[in-house]
Symmetry: D3
Subunit: 316 residues, 6 copies
C-alpha cells in the first residue's frame, strides 16, 4: 500500500511565476520520459515480478518516481500560481489576459483548459499515453528498457536545466536529474546479475544470421566500425545478389484451398487494372484544357508564375 507524507522529497523554491516555462517543464510531468511514465513502467513490472530482489527494487524506485512526479508537478503549480488566480478571478483586462496566454510554449492550453493546474501532457499539450510504457514481462528486456528510459530522462532534465536561470528550479531539477543516474545504475546492476541475459529469452538465434551485417545503405558515406566489421561479423555488401538470404525464391506464397483459389481468381478478374487501357481519368476531366493555372496579377499571380519559373530554372 502507498502512504504519503506531505513533505516533498526535495524542497521547491520558485522565484517567480512563469507559465511558459511551466508548460515546458510538463515534458517531465506528462511527457514520454517524464515521471509518470517512469513510475508506471516500474510499478507494472513490479506487480508481476516474482524475483524477490527485483520486485523490491522496482517498487522502491516506482515509489520514488511518484514522489518525483510530485516534485515536478509542484514546480509547475508554483510557476502557474499567478496565472491560475488571474484566470479564475478574471482579474485582468481581457487584452492583458489574452496577451499573457501568448507568452510561449503551449501555456495557452494549460491556462484555458487546465486552469493552471499541472496537466498530464507533454510540452506540446499531447496527453500522456500508456503507449509510452514498454514493459514486456521479461526482465532481460524490461531492465534494458529501464536503463534506456533513465538515460532519456536524464538528458531531458539536462535540457530543462539549461533553459532556466531560476536557481531554485535549477536546484530541484538537478536533484531529479541525478536520481535518474542513480536509478540507471541500479537497473544495470540488476540486469547483469542475471547470469545469462543475452540474448533475451530462451530461444537461441539461428546461427547463420546472428553475426551477419547487411550493408543495405551504400554510396558516399559508407563506413566501418566495430558494429559492422571485424572478426565477430560476417558481412554482405552485395545485397541484391544475395537475395533472399535463405536460398529460396524470395517470394511470399500460401497454399490456398481450391475454393479460395477460385474466389481469389474471380476477385482478381473483377478488379483488374487493365494494363493495356489508357482511360480518360478524373484528372483529365479536371485539368482545364490549354489553361494551366491562370492567376490574378493583383493577388500574387505574377509572383506565382515567376516562382514556378525560378523553380524550373533552378534545376536546369
Amino acid at each position: 500500500m502507498f502512504l504519503h507524507n506531505k513533505r516533498l522529497q526535495y524542497t521547491v523554491r520558485v522565484s517567480e511565476p512563469n507559465p511558459a516555462l511551466a508548460s515546458m517543464l510538463l515534458e517531465q510531468f506528462g511527457g514520454p520520459d517524464g515521471e509518470l511514465a517512469a513510475a508506471m513502467r516500474y510499478f507494472t513490472q513490479g506487480l508481476a515480478e516474482d524475483d524477490p530482489g527485483r520486485k523490491d527494487m522496482l517498487l522502491d524506485i516506482a515509489t520514488e518516481e511518484l514522489s518525483h512526479l510530485e516534485v515536478i508537478g509542484s514546480i509547475v503549480a508554483m510557476l502557474n500560481k499567478g496565472a491560475k488566480a488571474a484566470m479564475s478571478e478574471g482579474a485582468l483586462e481581457e487584452a492583458e489576459l489574452y496577451m499573457s496566454l501568448n507568452a510561449g510554449g503551449d501555456s495557452h492550453t494549460q491556462s484555458i483548459l487546465y486552469g493552471g493546474g499541472p496537466a498530464l501532457t507533454n510540452s506540446s499539450g499531447v496527453p500522456w499515453t500508456a503507449a509510452y510504457v514498454d514493459s514486456r514481462g521479461d526482465p532481460t528486456c524490461d531492465l534494458r528498457s529501464n536503463i534506456a528510459a533513465e538515460s532519456r530522462a536524464k538528458i531531458v532534465y539536462e535540457r530543462l536545466i539549461n533553459i532556466t536561470d531560476d536557481p531554485g528550479i535549477k536546484d530541484a531539477l538537478g536533484f531529479l536529474m541525478t536520481r535518474e543516474i542513480a536509478h540507471q545504475k541500479s537497473f544495470e546492476k540488476a540486469l547483469y546479475s542475471i547470469k545469462d541475459n543475452f540474448p533475451p529469452g530462451k530461444l537461441p538465434g539461428l546461427e547463420p544470421y546472428a553475426n551477419l551485417y547487411v550493408n543495405t545503405s551504400q554510396g558516399e558515406g559508407d563506413a566501418t566500425g566495430p558494429w559492422n566489421t571485424g572478426e565477430q561479423w560476417e558481412r554482405i555488401d552485395e545485397v541484391e545478389a544475395n537475395l533472399p538470404l535463405d536460398g529460396g525464391d524470395g517470394q511470399a506464397s500460401v497454399k490456398l484451398p481450391s475454393v479460395d483459389m477460385k474466389r481469389s481468381a474471380a476477385m482478381m478478374a473483377r478488379l483488374q487494372s487493365d494494363p493495356n487501357a489508357n482511360p480518360t481519368t478524373g484528372a483529365d476531366l479536371g485539368a482545364a484544357p490549354g489553361a494551366g493555372k491562370t492567376t490574378d496579377e493583383d493577388l500574387g499571380g505574377a509572383k506565382d508564375m515567376a516562382q514556378a519559373k525560378k523553380m524550373s530554372d533552378a534545376k536546369s
Copy 2:
C-alpha cells in the same frame, strides 16, 4: 534514396490461411516493438546524426527493418488471402462469413475494416503511433533505447514462434528474431565506442544523490542486492525522518507579486470548502431514506443480498 527489389530478404512459405494467427502477428507489423517502430526509430536518428559511422549504421539497419516490415507483412497477407477473397466476393453464406470472423484475436476488424490487408495496428487493433518512437537526439540515450528495443522485439518474436506450428512461418520468424540479436550487438558496439557514455549528456550529477538508494518500499519482502547495497551505495532506510533530502522545509513555494497574492487570496476565499460545515449533499438527496437497495427476487435480488452478506462476512 530508397530502392526496392521485389524479392523478399527471406522467403515466406505459409501452409494455409489463418486470419486469427495473422491478427496476432500484427504485433510485429504495427505494434510497439514491431518493424515499423524499429525502422522509424533508426531512420529518424540517422537523418539527424552527424557521426559518420553511426549515421551509416543507422541507415543500414533502418533499411533492413523496412525489409522486415515487408516480410512480416507478407506473412500476414498470405494468412489473410482466403479471407480477403471471401470478403470481397461475398462468396460465403452470411452465417459462414460471420462465423469466420469469430475465429479469434481481433481478426474481425482486420476483415471488416482492412479487408484482409495487413494493417498498421497491434494485435488488439490499436493503430501504430509515433509515441512508440523514443529517439531523443543524443546517441548515448538513443543507442540504449535501440538496444532495449531490439531486446523487446526479440522476445515478442520468440513468443510468436511459440504459438505457431506452421514450419514456413516459424522459419521466417526465426530469421527475423535472429536479426534483432545481430542488431542489438551492433548498437552495443556503437554505444561502447563512445568513450564517455555514462551518464548521458554533459552535466555531471550532484555528488550526494548519485550513489544514493532510497528504500521507499518496506515491509516483508524488503531485499538487498548489488542494486541497493554495497560500497557503491549510500542507502536511506529511515525515509520519512530524512525528508526532505535537501535539508529545507519540504514545501513548494513561489514568490508571488503582491497583485497575484491578492488575487490568489480572493480565489481561495471565494472557493473555500468550509471545514466546519456539514452540508446536505447530492448523495444525501439521492440515497432513498430507509431504503438501501431494494431488489427484485425474480431478477437476482436474492443473490445480490446474499452476496453482500457473504462479502461482509468474509471480512469479519
Copy 3:
C-alpha cells in the same frame, strides 16, 4: 513524498489462473474509470489546490487510489501467473499455446505483447490516456467531475463482480467498489461545503437563457418532466420560428479588411462549383455502361442479385 508498504490494502486470494478474466479486469487498471485515472485525477488537482482542507483530502484519496491500482493489478498478475510462465518458458506445444490465447477478451495481446504483466490498457487493449483525466483547476467543476468519476467506477466494479464467481476476487472487488462509494461521499461533502458552488465560476449567466428549455427534438415520444417543464422553466417549442434567439439575422459575419475581401472574392471565383454545369464525373467514367454489377454465379452472384431484389422489395 510517497512511501510504500509491501502489504496490500486488501488481501488478494485468487482461486485459479484465468487470463481472459484478467483482460476484462484491466478495465479498472488501465481503463477510463480505472484506478490510475482516479489517482491521477485527484493527484493533479491536489498539487495545484490552495484550499488546505481539499488539498489534504485530494492527496489522501489519490494515495488510496494508487493503493487500489496495486490491488487490482495484483489480481491481474495472479490470474496471468500461469500464462506468464508458460509463455516465458515456451512450455506448451505450439498449438496449445495458440489455443490458450483464444480464451476470450483481448488476452492474446496481454500474453504476446505484455508477457502476462498487468498492462495499462482497458479491456480492449486500448492504452490509457491522460485524455481521461478531466481536472480543470476549478473546485466546483473538479469536485463534480470526481463525484461522477466515482459513480462510474462503482458501476464498472459492480459489472465485474457480476461476471466472476471466484470468491476471493469477488471479495476484493467488493472492497474496491465500496471505497468508491465512500470517496463519492467525501467529494460531495467538499463540494457542498463551498458556499456558492452553482453555477461554477464567477460570471453569472445571461438572465434570459439560464432558465430556457429548447425543445429541439420533437415527434412521437416528446415528453415532459421537471427537467423541461414547470415554473422554473421557460420553454420554446416553436424552435424554427424563434431563430435566432437573439433577434439578429442568425448569420455569421466578420468585418474583413478590404484586402482580405478582395482575396476572398478571388478565391471564391477561382474555386466556384458552377451550379449550372453538368459535368461528366469520375463516377460517370467508372460506371460500366449498361453493365450494372455483373456477378459470377459460381461465387455467390445469384445470392447477390436476389439480395438486392429482396432489399428493394422490402421497401415497396
Copy 4:
C-alpha cells in the same frame, strides 16, 4: 432524424479576423469539454435510453449542442476568414505569411494543415477523441457525468470570455456559457427524479468500508472537514498498523496448478537477479575512468562545472 435550418441559434458578429484567438476558441469546438463532446455524450446516451422522459431530454440537448458546435465553429471560421484566403491565394510575401503563422497559440497548424477551416482539435492541436465521452449506460452515473461536463464547459467558456474584448464574440460566448448552466439544471432534475440514485447500481456497498476515511497522506497540512470527520465517518489514522483492512496477510496469492508452479519456478531460476553478485555493468563500461565529464571552456564548459558546483553547494 436530424434537420437543419441555415440560421444559427445565435447570431455571430465578429469584429475582425484573428487566427490566434480562433485557435484558442477551438477548445470548445474540438476540445474535451467542447460542443462535439457534449453532443456525442448525450446522443449516445439517448440512443440506448429506455426511459421516455430522459430519452427525450437527451435528444433535445444533444441536438442543441450540435447547434452550438455550429455557433462556435462559425466564430472560428469568421476569425480565420482572412487567413484562409491569404493562404489559399498565396497572396502575401512569404515572409509576411510566415510571420502571420506565429501570431500565437497553435494557429500555424490551423492554417497549414486545416487551411483555415475549423478543426476538431483542442487549442493545442490535439485531435478530438471519443475517449472524452464517458457514457456508461447507467443513468445515475451518466447524469452525474453530464452535470460535471456542463460545469466544466461553463468554466471554459468563462475563461474564453475573459480573454477576448470583441463584443460580438463575447456576446455569443455568453449565450453558449449560459446554456450550459441551463443544461446542468435539467440533468440535475433528471438525476434527482430517480428515487434511489445513490449509490449507483444495484449492489450495496460492504458495510464496514462505506463510511471509512483512510488518512493516507499525513504530516503538516493534515486537515479535517465534513469529508473525513464527524459522525458519518469512521476514520483510520494509523494506516500501516491496520494493513490490510481485511485482517488477512495483505499478500496476493493464486492457487497454481502444479504444472504452472513448476514452470514458474523454472522461469524464476532462469531469470534470477543474483543478490550476491556484484557484476560489472554497462554503466561501468561507459563511465570514463577518472574522467567525470570533461568540458570545453569555449563551449560553456566552465558554466557547466560552476553549475554543478553551485548545485552541490546549494544542498550542503
Copy 5:
C-alpha cells in the same frame, strides 16, 4: 527488399538554421498528409495486392515516398542543426536558450524532447498515427483514397512553399509537391483502368435510394446545382413529411426474448426519472440563496457585473 543509396533523390540546400520553420515542415514528415502516411498507405496496399500491375505501381510509389520522407526529414535536420548542437552542448546562457525555444510553432518540444532530430509529429507536436492510413483492401476504394491523399499532400506543400523564402527549401519543396501531382495521375490511370469501378464493391445499391437527394438543410442559402438537381436526381424537399423513407413507423425495435423483456422492464422501473417529481437537486443546494455571484470590486468584480449587464442588454 529495400536498399538505400546515400544520395538523396533531390539535393537539399538550406540557407540558415530556423527551428520554428522546421517545426512547421514537420507537417509533411509526421503529419496526416506527410510522406510517412503516403509511404505506409501504398506499402500496406501493395503487400496485399494481387493485381500485378497495381502491385508494382504501389511498391514503386511507396518506395519513392520513403525517399521523400528522407528529403523532408533532411531539410528539418538542417534547419535544426544549430539548435541541436546548442542544446547538446548547453552552449548558450540559460536565458538565451530559453528565448530560442520561443521562436514559434512547437519548436520548443522539438528541441527539449527530440533534441533537434526530426520527429514523427505534425506541426503541433501530435505524434503520427496509423489512423491516418485509410487502406481498405479494395482497389476501387483505395485508389480513390490515394488520389485524394495526393491532392491533400499537394496543397500542404503549396502552403509550405508560400511561407518560406529560402530558395533551396522552396526548390526542394517544389520538387516534392510536383511528385504528388505525378503520383495522383498514376493512381487516376490505375483506377479508371478497372472496368467497372463505380460503385465500389459487388453489391448494387437499392434502386430507389441511389439517385435521391434529401434537402435536409433549408432556409436562406438553399441552393441548387448538378449535385442535387437535374434529371439524374430525385429530390425530397418535404423531409419531415416523408419520414421514414421506407414507409415504416420510423421506430427502432427488437424482438426480445421474454426473459430479456422482464429484465428490461425491471431496469426501467428501477431507474425511472419520475416525470412528476420536482426534486431538490444538487444545483439547488449549491446556488447561494439570494446571492447570485458576489464579487470583489478590487478584483474585477465591477467589470464582471457590468459585463453581465452588457451581455443582457445586447440581446434586448
Copy 6:
C-alpha cells in the same frame, strides 16, 4: 441550427439481440469510415465554405449523415438491449454473464465499460478520433477526400451486409450503403463543376517532374500500364545512375553560422563512436560464456533445441 424529429430516416427492425454483431457494426458508428466521421468531415467543411452551392450541399449531407449515425446507433442499441438489461440487473449467474461476454468481437468491452450503449469506437474498441477527418479547407482536395470516404463507407457496409442474415438489419444497412453511393455522386458533380480542379491549388508543378515515373521497385514482377508507360510519361529505370534528379550532389547541407559550426564540431568530438575501438559491451557481459541457452528438458527444452536446429536446417 439543427432540429430533430424522433422518427428515424429508416425504420430499424432487429430480429433478436446479438451483442457480438453489435460490436462489429460499431465500425460504421465510431470507426474511421463510420457516420460520425462522415458527418464531421462535411460539417467542418461546410462551416468554412464560402461557395453557396457547396455550402448548402455539405450541410445537407452532413445533416443526413448525423441521421445515419442515429440509424446505425439504433441498430446497435437494439442488438445490445438484452445484454444491457442483464448487465444492469445482474440477472444471470456470474458464469453465464461471463460466458455471454465471450461471444465474439470486442463485445466484452461494450458490456463492461459502455453498459450496452452504442460507443464511439470501431469494432476493436478503438475510440473515434478526429484524426480520421481529413478536411483541408481546399474544395478540390476536400471533395476528392469526400469521394474517397464515401467509397470506403460503401465497401464497409457491403462487408457488414455480407455477415448478417437478419433481414431487418440487412435492409437498413442496404439503405445506408446506397446513400453513400448517392453522396459520392453529389461530391463528384461538385468537384467537376470547378473548372480547373487539377492539380489542386494555384501553384503549377515543376514541368520536368510532373510527368515522370520513377521505377524504384524492380525485379520479377516489374510491370507496365497506363500509370507508368505511354506518351504521357517520362520514365526512369536507371534510378541510381540518375541520383539526384536535380543534378546536384544529393547531399543535405545548411550554411551554419561559425558559432554553430564550432558547437557542432564539439558535439561530434564529444559523442563520436570511435570506428577503431572494439569495446567490450553490455551484450558481451550478458552472454554466458560457453553457455548458449541451457534449457530444462522437463520444461520443453528439448523442443527448443530441436526447433532451433530445425530452423537452421531449413535454411541450409
